[in-house]
Amino acid sequence: MMKTLSQRLLGPVTLVLLALTFWLGLWITPPDKVQGNLVRLVYVHPAVAWVALYVSFGTATIASALYLWKRTRSMVMDRIAHCAMEVSVVFIVLTLITGSIWGRPTWGVWWAWDARLTTTAILGVLALGYLALRRANDDPALRARRSAVFAILSAINVPIIHFSVQWWKTLHQGATVFTSNRTLLIHGSMAWTLLISFIAFTMLFFWLLRARYRLEVARELHGHATLDEALAQRRSEGAF
């Protein structure tokens, strides 16, 4: 299999950027006046949440929409949607975990009846529901169509999560990193580290997605190999 340079570099660069994020985040940037060292979670949690909501769930949604649109319908889109959704589950869980870890010291509880928290958890259940729906259908074409519709219906939740902090006056941080007029409220080394963290986790997503996609293709190729066997065996049932 030919690999382009960018494909070759995806893994190493991701690792380097992640390492850089952690190094900058843990040793170089200063602790916060109020939060102390806890503030360092700002280099993980928002980036992870961003990947979970927009990058991975978004990829799954767009791929699903492309599958449903007749002119771009192909199993490739279905596979991308499926793999992106699986990666999304991982990132949603990470969002919940990092958020809870952050919430315990700042709010005093692991969980609060906060609109953003609840809607994020609901998104997680939706992603699991997507996977359950796939399991429940055998026929590949039907499965692809049904899960694509479900993914698109579920995506409505993403903007709800985003705006939840405005719609419901809640505990969760409002838009701090990027305010609505797109200026950074955080400055200096923190801003740079934050930016690198977003890039690093986004690249991590694409790396995971590619790995997962390849596994899926390999699985299907394996499936084709056994198809011939299965056909031969089925045909032999008639020959007494």
Partner: protein, 217 residues
Amino acid sequence: MSGDAHVVRLSDAVVLSGGFPLLSGVDLELAPGTLSVVTGANGAGKTSLLRLLAGLVPLTTGSGTVAGVDLVEGDLRQLRRRVGWLGHEGSFYGDLSVRENLVFCARALARPLGEIDDVVHSVGLDHRIDTTTRQLSAGQRRRLGLAWLLLRRPELWLLDEPYASLDDAGRTFFDGLLGDVVAGGATVVVSAHDPLRSSALHPRTFTLAGGRIVDVA
């Protein structure tokens, strides 16, 4: 109907279900206005073949056209609208009576409701017309299935073991019906374990084994 000379044309049709090949490569051509019998051992793939022709399962590989609809590219809903299906169990809406089920069918197809009484009479269900279909006996349910098809008058009839659980009178009626339908220009595919009873019908017989056609007579 399409301009094609064949109502059914399958080439190397494979149907997978959960990785198992229900059909393992079927080639089949059927001309309009013919009667065909599909036979073969239990599990050979008769029901699966009929379901494929009815557009109830998708083709996995291979190609095919049924009633002018391409099985790979075409709209299977268009196909289903053209076929009549009589399955192992023809239960319809179990909570509705015989008449209510047929009224639903007639309305859906924009057929006159007046036909219903005739149809029910011809399959011999007059005395059960207001019975909930769940309470019908096995053979009566099969007869209701026939009544439904009579209302539909499709161009391709797919009948899965139609004789099973019909009594003698029912079978005779059914043989007569087959003759009429074929004479009327429709195509009929029947799956059966016995040879057809009436020798006046001259069907082609396809024998299935292991998901393929192994013999044509």
